[in-house]
């Protein structure tokens, strides 16, 4: 399997639900899992450590255990994608540091309508399918996605 990236809504397979409001979906359905990917995202994006399915410890010790709804939208989006491979989640609210983790996803569906180039980590590997092309390098994919967007804007 690969992460499927759609650059426009019309590319999304018919019948697949699309979620723009990642906060609402996450708060209602997604939990804090124990996988390496989930721990890495929690720590890397939000400086957070999982306590339970519903709570985490943030960077302010005095606040104690916090509900998962207090996580950033970027983290929520990544965990939504990871845990729900039959739903397409919009990346519109993901910050640069959250987009770095796209390279670690090997399943799921995302909508990225406004791609831009950014890579804040050394590991450029990825497993992405977009418009029937398979990408194994995140830089190559981002450059290509921006070209596609620019071409669409020109036409």
């Amino acid at each position: 399997m690969s992460l499927a990236v759609y650059l426009s809504r019309k590319e999304i397979p018919a019948g697949m639900p699309v979620v723009d409001r990642n906060d609402v979906y996450f708060n209602g359905y997604t939990t804090l899992g124990t996988s390496d990917f989930e721990q890495s995202v929690l720590l890397g994006v939000d400086q957070a450590v999982r306590i339970s399915d519903y709570t985490f410890r943030g960077r302010t010790a005095a606040l104690g255990a916090l509900n998962k709804s207090c996580l950033s939208t970027g983290t929520k989006t990544l965990l939504n994608i990871y845990q729900n491979s039959d739903i397409c989640f919009s990346l519109v609210e993901c910050g640069d540091n959250a987009l770095d983790y796209l390279g670690d996803l090997h399943d799921g569906n995302v909508l990225w309508e406004h791609p831009f180039f950014y890579l804040g980590r050394d590991d450029e590997s990825c497993d992405i399918i977009c418009r029937d092309r398979h990408f194994e390098n995140l830089c190559d994919f981002m450059e290509w996605a921006m070209e596609v967007q620019n071409d669409a804007g020109d036409s």
């Binding site: 723009d20 906060d23 010790a61 939208t73 970027g74 910050g95 540091n97």
Partner: protein, 135 residues
């Protein structure tokens, strides 16, 4: 001007925002933007400052129309603005009274008009600050 310097729940909030439209940290996730907005709302409530706030639940709201009807609102907070940003919202913000303070959290930087101030948000273990970025 909106100045908040207070310890709330173990976090020292130390921010100052000037009148006009300001964008908070366009690039990163998890740097305290929503926490900042919550603190600003609490501060406004405590100090009897009229405010209006929008977030991810505002996608089905006509934000531009509501902004156009605001009278006496001093502070406007637009969190998760990627979900409901439009040219009409831009125009409505521009038409707000000169003394209004508007904070916008948005990731799609190319959708912004020029002339907005930009603030870098920093949230470490016990301190939340906002520093204006000079472009």
């Amino acid at each position: 001007m909106l100045e908040i310097h207070e310890d709330i729940g173990g976090i020292m909030v130390d921010v100052t925002f000037h009148v006009g439209i300001s964008c908070v940290d366009l690039h990163s996730s998890g740097n305290g933007k929503t926490l900042l907005f919550d603190r600003v709302k609490a501060y406004c409530l405590k100090n009897n400052i009229a405010y209006r706030a929008y977030n991810y639940d505002s996608q089905s709201v006509d934000v531009a129309a509501e902004l156009g009807g605001l009278t006496g609102t001093v502070v406007v907070l637009l969190d998760n603005a990627d979900l409901y940003w439009s040219d009409a919202v831009c125009d409505a913000l521009t038409a707000l009274p000169e003394d209004a303070i508007v904070l916008v959290s948005i990731k799609q930087r190319r959708r912004l008009k020029t002339g907005y101030a930009l603030y870098k948000i920093a949230y470490d273990a016990d301190r939340l600050t906002a520093a204006e970025v000079i472009l």
